[in-house]
């Protein structure tokens, strides 16, 4: 009996490793090409047949992109994305207070409305949004950019956060109320802290959504000193020339710190999503 079970377990483990290998290849294959290209001189980037490993390994591309400007872009990206996350979480926590109260009328229309507001295509959104930002004095400032980012981060944040908050058992809220806390007090002091992992998860999602953007940064910022990293990367794509090696190098550099942060934050992120997923 135990031999069959052991064999079944071994086959199962083997299957798991095969699947894991397949996933690793799928995810990392293109990344491998990115990294090797960043280590190639221009003459090797496009070779026939393609070279999987650089024969003329060079770090020149990395040296070329590690400039003070790149550092500035990186810092700007971090500032803008952090600020966006804080702003977005603040607004969505406020919104979720009302949206988690079952007694609130108009809850469903608001939720649907929030989602619909996310639907407008960027190309159509940009010019009027720009004009609105100009009127409000939000142009060419990183703060203005954070506000503009609300258009595509806030709706999703509200939806996701609400899911996590609704998962907190109501008995805990009832207990808090019976202890004499007001409705908002119960929300703020009991429910939200319990949903901290979920809040962190939504925060990370918002951060990454903001991290990717280049269109808004391009349109709303003018000063080169305020630009975010994706714009710095796009500068390597010229009208007639593309600096392939440098492009790949800076992209690789872009990925590393985020990967580190995510690895560290993974503990909270996964746990956070777990908490929210117990109950829809």
């Amino acid at each position: 009996m135990s031999v069959t079970i052991a064999r079944r377990k071994a086959t199962r483990q083997a299957g798991v490793y095969v699947a894991a290998a397949a996933l690793a290849v799928f995810v990392l294959g293109p990344i491998f090409w990115l990294v090797t290209t960043s280590l190639k001189p221009r003459s090797e980037v496009f070779a026939s047949p393609p070279r999987f490993l650089p024969t003329d390994l060079t770090f020149a591309n990395y040296a070329d992109v590690l400039t003070p400007d790149t550092m500035q872009f990186f810092v700007n990206s971090v500032i803008v994305c952090l600020g966006t996350t804080v702003l977005c979480l603040a607004f969505s926590l406020l919104a979720c207070f009302t949206l988690t109260r079952t007694g609130t009328r108009g809850r469903k229309p608001i939720l649907v409305g929030v989602l619909v507001s996310q639907l407008l295509p960027q190309a159509v959104l940009l010019v009027p949004l720009y004009r609105a930002a100009d009127t409000l004095g939000l142009l060419n400032s990183r703060f203005g950019l954070m506000v503009a980012f609300m258009t595509f981060t806030l709706p999703v944040a509200i939806w996701l956060l609400r899911g996590f908050l609704m998962a907190i058992p109501m008995e805990l809220e009832e207990a808090a109320r019976l202890d004499g806390l007001s409705e908002f007090g119960a929300y703020w002091r009991v429910i939200v802290p319990l949903a901290k992992p979920g809040v962190a998860a939504v925060g990370i999602y918002v951060f990454f959504m903001a991290w990717q953007d280049f269109m808004y940064s391009l349109v709303f910022l003018t000063d080169a000193s305020k630009r975010t990293l994706p714009l710095g990367v796009l500068a390597l794509i010229g009208s007639h020339t593309i600096e392939w090696g440098q492009l790949m190098a800076v992209s690789a550099l872009l990925l590393v710190p985020i990967l580190l942060v995510f690895t560290f934050a993974q503990r909270y992120f996964i746990a956070g999503l777990t908490a929210g997923a117990v109950k829809g």
Binding site: Y17, A20, L23, A24, F26, V27, P30, I31, W33, L34, A47, S48, P50, F91, L94, A95, F97, L99, R101, T102, G103, T104, V112, V114, L115, S117, L119, L120, P121, Q122, A123, V124, L126, P128, A132, A148, M150, T151, L154, P155, W159, M170, E183, F184, W211, Q212, F214, I237, S251, I258, T263, Q266, I270, L273, T274, A275, G276, A277, V278, G280
Partner: protein, 325 residues
């Protein structure tokens, strides 16, 4: 799991709240005041976010709708009201049907594949094996790469003579010659779909991983002790427990994919011909190359209407199965 009705109106009966020595009428009045304050606070909290979104989105949306009824373009700064001219022209054009078809194929294929791969990888990454933690961290990489860089990278990969896809596929005997995946109308859409799946699936993986791990083990144990095999446990215990997360993720992924611009534009700009022309690329072209605000606005409105219909229908389905509450 049957949805439990959640209520936050923790209200005691008035009788229970009457303080000693207090007249009942006074207690009722006090109750009414408390209720009003409660409502006022709820309204106060929802106003800033809604106002912000309204200011940011309502004006552009209204502007787009207004422009869609005009002949506004870059070189025509004083737009003439033209009624439904733009809509008529769009809805009767062949291009619109192509864009619609491509957008549907694009969205459905990417969302479905991201769901399957996301779910499979989530389950995989929840098993115990050596290197699991490393793989779990690595899996986020495609998602955090900015779309334009991913597009440039995949264009490199797909190069018919100088890229690794054909080198590998040819070497393994899977493919004959050097097909230009992005340069042929017959394969371009599939090629960008694959790139998009790679780019976006990690989000689904993470969401489903959390949901999967959130299913209480007791439930699984109970089912297994009832004689269920692994597949039955998955089908009847795990999957239903993950349902709320799945529903939300699929909804968000659909909306997000439908409007996703960066990747396709960098890889093919909507070509060859119109084989990868989807709503976002077509709208971008009208708004920024041809600079015809009226036409772009009309396309934008149609796009919003399509997505809204989907959203409302989807949510109504959710409501029926009690998912939104």
């Amino acid at each position: 799991m049957p949805p439990t009705v959640r209520t936050t109106d923790v209200s005691m009966s008035v009788a229970e709240r009457v303080a000693p020595g207090q007249a009942p009428g006074e207690a009722i009045a006090q109750e009414k005041r408390r209720h009003r304050r409660q409502t006022a606070l709820r309204v106060l909290c929802i106003i800033p976010p809604v106002a912000l979104l309204g200011a940011l989105v309502a004006y552009p949306l209204a502007n787009a709708i207004y422009l869609s009824f005009t002949t506004s373009s870059f070189i025509n700064p004083d737009p003439d009201f033209a009624g439904l001219v733009n809509y008529k022209a769009i809805l009767t054009s062949d291009t619109f049907l192509t864009v619609l078809k491509n957008s549907l194929i694009w969205t459905v294929a990417v969302v479905a594949a991201q769901f399957v791969i996301g779910l499979a990888s989530a389950i995989l990454l929840s098993q115990k094996f050596k290197g699991r933690l490393v793989l779990r961290s690595m899996v986020i990489l495609p998602w955090i790469m900015p779309g334009v860089i991913a597009g440039v990278l995949w264009k490199l990969l797909y190069d018919p003579y100088l890229g690794p896809v054909n080198a590998l596929a040819g070497g393994l005997g899977l493919v004959d010659g050097n097909p230009a995946w992005l340069g042929q109308a017959s394969t371009a859409l599939a090629a960008v779909v694959i790139a998009a799946i790679w780019k976006g699936f990690p989000l689904s993986t993470i969401m489903y991983m959390a949901a999967y791990q959130g299913v209480p083990n007791e439930l699984r144990e109970a089912a297994r002790s009832d004689g269920a095999n692994a597949w039955q446990v998955f089908r009847h215990v795990t999957l239903p427990a993950m349902a709320p997360t799945i529903r939300t993720t699929v909804l968000l992924t659909t909306v997000w994919t439908f409007n996703y611009f960066d990747l396709v534009y960098v890889m093919t700009a909507g070509g060859p011909g119109t084989s990868t022309e989807i709503f976002p690329t077509y709208i971008y072209r009208e708004a920024f190359q041809n600079v015809r605000y009226g036409v772009a606005g009309a396309y934008g409105v149609i796009s919003v209407v399509l997505l809204s219909i989907f959203t409302v229908v989807y949510l109504r389905q959710l409501n029926k199965s009690g998912g939104l509450d």
